[in-house]
């Protein structure tokens, strides 16, 4: 990203602002004193070895877990910057299924396995009041095509899909309401390398084309290299280094990041 773009960005309104965010599990630290700001359309990657607190941070950011302290503010459509943990539960649930998307590492956590692909994609639309079958189905077909799934499979259940197809379906199911922010935890985890590469291409295309902001957790540096504008490196629950992706990966400053990049660490 150029310096000019950086300056333009600084003048824009933030989409998400995270301040002093800490989550402990009793004595165990999940993540500690996390601070960052995300702008509309920006993709941030969170990397670190297993157990470094990536999923904990993502779960708190996406309101799936309550923080121990600190705040997560989001630019709500009709209210502006608001701490998501001061919203009522129904408001938060509505935010999570309209203006946000959450792509789980395990598709079983993000899909309804007993419901057809079309029903999975249509659920969010019906949740916000869509009551025209033809329109819901048309949106389903449209989104299956956008994530490059065979549209003739619209009435098949996800349990008959491969892992890569399930991940695509999960993405379609989330994007159908045009969210402005998507959270992804290891979106390519558990997939074959060639399937991973195609999914990454697809994600990159969608995120760019739709201007969606995203926070992507991964232990795979190739994923962030391809998708993320900025990077946060986590170790033992803390961010040890942050910056533009290429800068961090090509010129890591923190010794831990240097180890990560040189692949000395088994991540």
């Amino acid at each position: 990203m150029s310096a000019v773009m950086q300056m333009e960005k600084a003048e824009r309104r933030p989409l998400l602002r995270v301040s002093h965010l800490t989550k402990s599990y009793g004595e165990v630290t999940g993540c500690r004193d996390i601070n960052f700001t995300l702008y509309p359309g920006e993709v941030i990657g969170i990397v670190g070895e297993s157990g470094s607190g990536k999923s904990t941070l993502l779960n708190v950011l996406s309101a799936q877990m309550q923080p121990t302290s600190g705040t997560v503010e989001y630019d709500l459509k009709h209210r502006g910057m608001s701490d998501i943990f001061t919203l009522s539960e129904p408001e938060r649930r509505k935010l999570m299924r309209t203006d946000w998307g959450i792509v789980h590492q395990n598709p079983r956590d993000g899909l309804r396995m007993e419901v057809s692909a079309g029903g999975n994609v249509g659920e969010r639309l019906m949740a916000i009041g869509a009551r025209h079958y033809g329109d819901i189905r048309a949106a389903g077909l449209d989104w299956l095509a956008k994530v490059e799934l065979d549209t003739t499979r619209i009435d098949d259940r996800p349990k008959t899909f491969s892992g890569g197809m399930q991940q695509r379906l999960q993405i379609a199911r989330n994007l159908v309401t045009n969210p402005r922010l998507v959270f992804m935890d290891e979106p390519t985890g558990g997939l074959d390398v060639s399937v991973q590469a195609r999914l990454l291409d697809l994600l990159r295309g969608l995120v760019r084309e739709l201007g969606i902001a995203a926070i992507i957790v991964t232990h795979d540096l190739a994923v962030v290299r391809l998708l993320a504008d900025r990077l946060m490196v986590m170790r033992r629950g803390e961010v040890v280094e942050a910056g533009l992706t290429d800068q961090v990966l090509d010129d890591p400053h923190h010794p831990y990041t240097q180890l990560l990049v040189s692949s000395v660490l088994q991540v």
């Binding site: 129904p90 649930r93 057809s116 079309g118 969010r124 019906m126 949740a127 009551r131 079958y133």
Partner: protein
């Protein structure tokens, strides 16, 4: 027809079997259910001398609202004379000494398994439904914590997903019984396994409708004159079942019909599921194509399929 029996209350039992404290607790539950139409109110259900699936929820509700001067009617899929209906009627004759009837109009309380009578109900009557599964979202969402939130926040998109699945698979909404409704524009409710044919009767009904689920220990209600809307899609509107045939015995064209197999050569007929309605019409001189056929009349009184 209306077999009014002068029976004696067996005073070894407290009136209507349940103890007074339990009845008061269930009545409080019912009052709360009436105050929040369609909302499932948990209650401390009691063991009843009936197996679950035989209407223990309905029996507890009936036992709590019935008085010595009330007349009780019990139907099982429209029929007054099935084993289930007869045994519940006998139960209340014995433990409460109340009069029973098969005539809808004469009943103060009608306990039902899976039908609403064809004759319109009136103010002052109470219709008690036996409910096997009170939670309309259960098949799609097994977690009780989650369905409770869905009701709390009126998040009912998932129910439409079920109807969507029907249309995707069958080309139309194939759900024909337990067809989900919105009560008073607020709570999603399962009407118990009545045919969707009966759904429109729930709306604006002058009677009080009480639903008792014994196994799940829930009571819910539709107070008189309440809005009850069957879910649907704009381009797949709710429709009730219709038949090309009329009732073979009484000739009725607008009642809910059961198919009855007459012989092993493919002979069959359609007859009113509501036996009281059908008999009443025949007594008034109406007749259908097989109305004078003795074999058909004999078959008409067989137990409907469970």
């Amino acid at each position: 027809m209306s077999a009014v029996s002068a029976v004696q209350w067996d005073e070894a039992y407290n009136f209507a079997y349940l103890d007074e404290q339990t009845k008061r607790m269930i009545r409080r539950t019912i009052l709360k259910a009436i105050a929040i139409p369609g909302y499932q109110v948990p209650f401390g259900g009691r063991e009843m001398p009936l197996a679950y699936g035989w209407g223990t929820g309905g029996v507890q509700v009936t036992a709590s609202v019935i008085g010595p001067d009330d007349t009780l009617k019990v139907i099982d899929q429209g029929a007054d004379d099935t084993t289930n209906a007869v045994s519940i009627r006998r139960f209340f004759e014995r433990v409460a000494g109340v009069e029973t009837t098969e005539t809808t109009e004469d009943a103060d309380i009608i306990q039902t398994r899976h039908r609403i009578p064809e004759f319109p109900l009136r103010e002052g009557q109470v219709l008690v439904y036996q409910v096997p599964q009170p939670e309309p979202l259960r098949k799609l969402e097994p977690r009780e914590t989650e369905t409770r939130k869905m009701h709390g926040y009126a998040e009912y998109g998932l129910m439409s997903v079920r109807l969507y699945e029907d249309i995707a698979r069958y080309g139309h909404i194939a759900t024909t019984y337990s067809y989900p409704v919105m009560v008073n524009g607020r709570y999603l409710m399962s009407p118990s396994p009545i045919p969707k044919f009966d759904n429109p009767k729930m709306e604006n009904n002058p009677a009080i409708q009480l639903f008792g689920a014994g196994r799940e220990k829930r009571i819910y209600a539709i107070p008189p004159y309440t809005q009850v809307k069957s879910l649907d899609f704009d381009d797949h509107p709710f429709k009730v079942q219709t038949w090309k045939e009329c009732c073979a015995l009484c000739g009725a064209k607008s009642s809910y019909l059961d198919e009855v197999i007459l012989d092993d050569r493919g002979g069959r007929m359609f007859v009113c599921s509501d036996t009281n309605f059908c008999e009443d019409r025949r007594a008034k001189g109406h007749t259908g194509p097989l109305g004078a056929d003795p074999a058909a009349l004999a078959f008409a009184h067989k137990e409907p399929a469970q």
